[in-house]
Assembly symmetry: C2
Homo-oligomer: 394 residues x 2
């Protein structure tokens, strides 16, 4: 991939032995100066030790490095799990020779497995030594679990003639659902921004991106999104206009990553944007969109390239939202398949079926009752999803 | 199967051509005298025409016959759909020479397909001619969709020396979820009971049976449970003790049918009872049990015979219920796999994995916070589930 320049940040990823098959499983992000940091974390009641640790550390708003391991979630590991998360950060702090309070930790993998700290300890020297501005690909690989491709998005911005960069890395694949910070995502920028502003920008961007995607309706115990700003580019996000501009660029990076996550959903073969409009309110539209996006019957029909609109309407009907099914229209891209709650016949179905053969398309439900609108990105539910998840630990 | 004697009822099932492959697709239940009737119906906002029709007719509380077709749900079929449902009942009324107001209708199959009334009209004479007390197997086959076995349960009872029988027939397989009357189920009894009492008995029995099962979290537009009492046995359900006794027997029949429905869930290979106890309240226990029972990740792990307890705890964690994960115990049958939120190690896992190889077992989560308890029956999520639902309409 082309060279990414997010000044002052370096990255690495190495093999520590936490994952089987000699795959990279330990990653590091390092900033040459302290960064502002903001984060959003899983809303699951069951939270992994590194999530609990980061939630504490982020209160101060500053960071120097993030150490991430795959192969073990360090979740449901009790008091020892928290000690291990602290130790994992400390090992990175020793290696980098910086204060351990400025180190954040993220873990992903199987729940309930104790963290093999000895493997991490043995690998940290190589991890630190490998740090380089171009090491982001290694980092992206090291945080993968059932992901099939590394996910990196980078955008250059410009404020008053002064350039800056925002670069994000994510992993996803399973246990992805709206209402969550969702999976692991690390965003670096060389612009200068306060922790308070970063938090505000992150919250609004996550709401429009990661909180609108779903793969299986399950939510993880380890989901973490961190955004770090080190100011090394010299570009300051200062005025209200700058802030709006930066937020939009950040939103673009997160949305692009979110799409990559859904596209690479476990076993996914299709990326589908479920749009609900004409609802009584935005929140009702969202409720319906999420119910459709999470329906196993809708998702298996998408896999089968079957324009089974009855399942879409039935899912909407059980969402808990009141609406008149006799008013509903359903479109596959621009093909009107259902008009006023009734199918538009064989010709429309032939056209809709063509749409379903694409790798990406939209399904729009228009309830024609109000102005409420929402959209959720989802994927299909394939035979491979079951295979992957039946075999995950074995 | 052995001869079932529910006096005064006769049944039939014939091929009308609504389903492909020359399979039985039209069924009839007939009582020689008017019956009391009670019913519960889908809570989906999208309701099929026959559901809307039955909800009207059941207000009077009496019935003579039920005509049921598979192959078409007669749902999302607009005004014509309602006309067709009325016509379907009328065709049965003509054939039986009874008042059409005493005929109930149920349909199951693809949503949005107009009902082929001409096929039904042509088949009704044979359907009526085939009626016999022993025709219940034909009826059970005629209402099947993706079901692989007909589902019939029969129990004999005795009140003060006077015998009676309760016989139920159900179909299920897909679009099954709690919070619903769920799928099609018809129960006949030759005891005498008022419509008001039947309704009360049915509601409490459904709550403990069909509302506690799940296959895929989706709920149908056509779900209907009807119970009919014709009194032909001469046995009267009169006293409070009789009523309790009858309710228990009815509950047994419904629970047995509910189990058969889950066991025969689309692609299911395992029947799993998810029990949550020690919750702050029964409704909180139920919320957690249902979230676990509907989790795609839990269900695929069950299919893979993987004692992946982390997914169980993670599902509980996203149920919206507050609890302390550090207190939770998890059992597979009587094997303690998780103690105070942490795994019990390899020996426990070996034992738990043995449990998972059984076709039926329980998973119990003990939150140790209160007295709340609930259970939900579920099945695993297999490769065949995806195959069946990707191909359903084609």
């Amino acid at each position: 991939m082309k060279k990414i320049l997010c000044k002052g940040f370096s990255f690495s990823g190495v093999v520590s032995g936490l994952k089987k098959n000699n795959q990279k499983d330990l990653g590091l992000i390092y900033s040459e100066v302290p960064t502002s940091i903001a984060g959003v974390f899983t809303k699951n009641r069951v939270q992994a030790a590194p999530v609990l640790l980061d939630r504490e550390r982020i209160k101060k708003g500053f960071c120097r490095a993030v150490i991430v391991n795959s192969g073990s979630a360090n979740c449901c590991t009790g008091d020892q799990g928290m000690k291990d998360a602290i130790s994992e950060a400390r090992l990175a702090a020793y290696g980098l020779n910086i204060s351990e309070e400025l180190i954040f930790v993220a873990s992903t993998g199987v729940i309930g497995k104790p963290l093999a700290l000895d493997k991490i300890e043995a690998a940290v020297p190589a991890l630190v030594k490998a740090l380089s501005p171009g090491g982001i690909n290694d980092f992206a690989q090291a945080i993968m679990t059932t992901d099939t491709v590394p996910k990196i998005v980078s955008r250059n911005g410009n404020i008053g003639g002064s350039g800056f960069n925002i670069t994000g890395v994510a992993k996803g694949a399973g246990m992805i659902c709206p209402d969550m910070a969702t999976m692991l995502c690390f965003v670096c920028t060389d612009a200068e921004a306060s922790p308070g502003y970063l938090k505000e920008a992150l919250l609004s961007s996550v709401e429009k991106s990661f909180n609108r995607i779903t793969i299986d309706g399950d939510t993880s115990t380890n989901d973490t999104v961190l955004v770090m700003a080190n100011g090394v580019s010299g570009t300051v996000v200062g005025s209200r206009a700058d802030k709006t501009y930066f937020k939009e660029l950040l939103g673009e990076v997160l949305m692009e990553l979110a799409k990559m996550v859904v596209k690479d959903g476990e076993g996914a073969t299709k990326l589908v944007d479920i749009i609900v409009k004409g609802a009584a309110s935005g929140s009702e539209a969202e409720k319906i969109a999420k119910t459709i996006a999470n329906s196993s019957l809708v998702k298996t029909a998408l896999f089968g390239e079957d324009a089974n609109w009855g399942r879409i309407l039935a899912a909407a009907g059980r969402s808990g939202v009141e609406f008149d099914p006799g008013l509903a229209d359903i479109y596959f891209n621009d093909v009107l398949m259902v008009k006023n709650g009734m199918g538009c016949g064989d010709a429309a179905e032939i056209e809709a079926t063509k749409v379903l053969k694409n790798p990406e398309f939209t399904i729009m439900v228009d309830l024609k009752m109000g102005e409420g609108k929402a959209s959720v990105l989802t994927c299909d539910f394939s035979i491979d999803y079951v295979k992957i998840n039946a075999d995950y630990r074995s």
